[in-house]
């Protein structure tokens, strides 16, 4: 069964926008982080879909790399968040504005 490319593109675009909206709107940093992951995954969906479309593996390989990179990034990000949380006792994005102007 073949899912038309357009459907997938709509899906990935929607995911991307949802993710972006999450980054812009959500107050919890963890959720923001998750939103970023959603955006990355939207791209990954694209890569896999195009890979299938073109029938070569480049996209899929790259998607794998990308997932790996995203995982590593989340690890680093969570470590930083943990550290922040230790000092500030908050995960509210609006409470971190020490650095400004």
């Amino acid at each position: 069964m073949n899912i038309p490319l357009e459907y997938i593109l709509v899906l990935s675009s929607s995911l991307f926008v949802i993710g972006a909206a999450g980054v812009i709107l959500k107050k919890n940093i963890i959720v923001v982080l998750m939103s970023i992951e959603i955006m990355l995954n939207a791209a990954n969906i694209n890569l896999v879909a195009f890979s299938t479309y073109y029938g070569d593996t480049t996209g899929q390989v790259f998607a794998l790399f990308s997932i790996g990179v995203a995982a590593a990034e989340v690890a680093v990000a969570l470590a930083i968040l943990l550290n922040l949380n230790k000092q500030k006792k908050t995960v509210d994005i609006d409470e971190i504005n020490l650095l400004r102007w």
Partner: protein, 656 residues
């Protein structure tokens, strides 16, 4: 090897003295007076010799001029010597009077101590540059020295610089003449561009081929310089103020020499002025008006030097009137008459230099003795100052225009020529009437002065000196001798009419002139009714002064106590409000405008500059504050950015 080849030394000697006195005078015992006398004396000897050479041979000495500055391939400025009879006459007058004044000064300025050095330095500089002015062979060179004599005048008027009045007078003299100088400069620019040279002969020789409008303007502007320097209406008001300087300075600079530079310039520009009837008439009119209004102001001047100053202005007016009339006559084709008027003007210049120089020096002697300048505080001085009073009387008679004194000859000739021009243009009738009225007033105010100073009851100042036994003797010989010599000339310079071919055959425009013997001239002069008119005026003036100020038959106080005469007197004392007008123009007009402009500069022009920087810094503050530190404010900018990009893409056309 003629003496003429050393003519260039004439200004150099006083200038050398200037340098020596200036740098070393302080170390000398007499503060450099001797050096000054030697320098100026040497110049006088050379100048007289040179003048003699030129006048007797009738040769115009004009050596090759040297290039001073090469400005471009077709413009260059030159320096040279040009001695014709006019210059020779000026040399005599300037160098001779200068020498006498310097000698006089050694005594007169003796009490000034160390300051004498500055005095003699500046006097030497003045004599040098004044002689340089006379010797110039082109207008530029003349202008250079012209400005320098102005500088000397400025310095010497402000000799007692700690007196505010002197400082003010010096400023006024410089600035008012500067206005004239600007006009003179404009004239020079016109001539320079027209002829690419300012050489007298070159210009005179090419007048017919040049653009006549330019020439007319050039003549007008050149004469503008003379208006300033020779204190002509309406720039005359600096000269009375200039009396704040030492009296010797007034005698030398503001009576006998520098103020004549304007007349000399007009004489040099005579051919240019004569190309236009309008400009000629203008010159004559300025002369006539000046002569008249200055004489009126002299009528009630309270100070002895004031009277002499107004008188100087008035007499200079006569000279200018003569030159203007001459130019006009020349322009109308009456070459002989024009030439004669020209000669008469210069003749009056010479005569005036002698008698006015004498009068000033005499006034100096009086002031030296009595310690005040107020005429009302003098009186009865004749008894104590015999030499002074008699020599001054001679000069007064001369200036008043009594026959067989030099002043008579020149003034009469001027008036006669003015009247002659009436045939051509009726305006000259008015000028003639003004001239005659001036002659009357001249006689009156000169004798008013003389009577008030030397006759009658001793005044306050006189008493003071007598009682306190200051100096009962008259001035020292160094002061008296110049008085006597000048008085002799004030009487006798008319004899030059009969030396050789006579004054007019030497000093004129055309170069050839029919000479009159003494008898012929006497006949010609005294057969004219005009002569008798002027004699009557002179006599009337003297008589009126005699009855008013000596016999006191007429009470001057009563005459001016009320009504129109009182108002008139006040107006005259206020000098027709000219000083007020000058101040209004200067302080209110120009200075006020400058203050406004200062505001404009500060708040508008600089305001824009500072406004831009303030705006940028403010904008920077806004941009900075937009950096709130909230992450989601930053991410929201994403929307802004994306829409901006889309709009731009649309604008570029990619999305259309």
């Amino acid at each position: 090897m003629s003496i003429l080849e050393y003519a260039w030394l004439i200004p150099v000697l006083p200038l050398l003295a200037f340098v020596i006195v200036g740098f070393l005078g302080g170390k000398m015992k007499d503060n450099g007076a001797i050096v000054a006398v030697i320098g100026v004396g040497g110049a006088m000897v050379l100048a007289l010799w040179t003048a003699f050479e030129v006048l007797t041979t009738g040769v115009v000495y004009k050596p090759e001029s040297m290039e001073w500055v090469v400005l471009s391939s077709d413009y260059s400025m030159e320096m040279g010597v040009y001695i014709d009879s006019v210059a020779a006459m000026m040399l005599i007058v300037v160098s001779f009077i200068a020498f006498l004044v310097v000698v006089y000064s050694t005594a007169y300025m003796h009490d000034q101590g160390k300051r004498q050095r500055r005095y003699f330095t500046e006097i030497c500089l003045f004599v040098g540059v004044m002689l340089g002015l006379v010797l110039a062979n082109n207008f530029l060179q003349m202008f250079i020295f012209w400005e320098l004599v102005g500088l000397c005048s400025y310095l010497l008027i402000g000799f007692w610089f700690e007196r505010p009045a002197a400082a003010r007078a010096a400023k006024k003299a410089f600035l008012v003449t500067r206005v004239g100088d600007v006009m003179l400069m404009i004239g020079l620019f016109l001539l320079f561009t027209e002829f690419h040279s300012l050489n007298y002969e070159l210009i005179w020789g090419n007048l017919t081929t040049a653009d006549q409008t330019t020439l007319a303007f050039a003549g007008f502007f050149l004469f503008g310089g003379a208006i300033g320097k020779s204190a002509q209406f309406p720039l005359h008001d600096w000269l009375p103020d200039a009396m704040e300087g030492p009296t010797t300075v007034s005698a030398l600079i503001h009576a006998a020499t520098m103020v004549n530079a304007g007349v000399y310039l007009t004489a040099r520009a005579f051919p240019i002025i004569a190309t236009s009837a309008d400009v000629s008439l203008f010159v004559a009119a300025i002369g006539g008006i000046t002569a008249f209004i200055a004489a009126t102001m002299a009528l009630c001047a309270p100070k002895i030097k004031g009277v002499l100053a107004y008188s100087t202005v008035s007499q200079l007016g006569y000279m200018i009137l003569a030159l203007g009339t001459g130019a006009f006559l020349w322009n109308q084709g009456h070459h002989e008459a024009g030439s004669l008027a020209f000669g008469a003007g210069l003749f009056h210049l010479m005569n005036h230099a002698f008698f006015k120089g004498q009068l000033f020096l005499g006034a100096g002697s009086v002031i030296h003795y009595v310690g005040t300048e107020e005429l009302s505080k003098m009186g009865g001085l004749g008894k104590y100052m015999k030499v002074t009073s008699i020599t001054m009387l001679i000069s007064c008679i001369s200036i008043a225009g009594i026959p067989f004194f030099s002043g008579f000859w020149s003034k009469d000739e001027i008036l006669a020529m003015t009247f002659e021009a009436t045939d051509v243009n009726l305006w000259f009738l008015l000028l003639w009437i003004m001239g005659v009225a001036t002659a009357f007033m001249t006689a009156f105010y000169m004798f008013r002065m003389w009577f008030m100073a030397f006759k009658g009851e001793p005044g306050e100042g006189t008493k003071h000196v007598i009682e306190h036994g200051g100096h009962h003797h008259e001035a020292p010989i160094a002061m008296l001798l110049p008085l006597v010599i000048l008085a002799a000339l004030a009487f006798g310079s008319w004899l030059s009419l009969f030396i050789g071919d006579g004054f007019y055959s030497v000093i004129n425009v055309e170069g050839e002139f029919h000479a009159l013997s003494i008898i012929e001239r006497l006949e010609e002069v005294f057969s004219s009714p005009l002569t008798w008119v002027s004699i009557a005026m002179a006599g009337g003036g003297i008589a009126l002064a005699y009855y008013t100020f000596n016999k006191r038959r007429i009470s001057a106080e009563n005459v001016v106590s009320k009504g129109f005469p009182k108002a008139m007197r006040q107006l005259l004392l206020d000098r027709y409000k000219f000083p007020v007008a000058y101040d209004k123009i200067g302080y209110v007009g120009v200075y006020g405008f400058s203050l406004l402009l200062d505001k404009f500069d500060r708040y508008v022009i600089d305001g824009i500059v500072n406004g831009i920087s303030k705006f940028l810094i403010k904008a920077g503050g806004v941009v900075r504050k937009s950096q709130t530190g909230f992450v989601q404010n930053y991410t929201t900018l994403l929307l802004l950015g994306v829409s901006l990009i889309i709009v731009l893409l649309y604008v570029v056309g990619a999305l259309r």
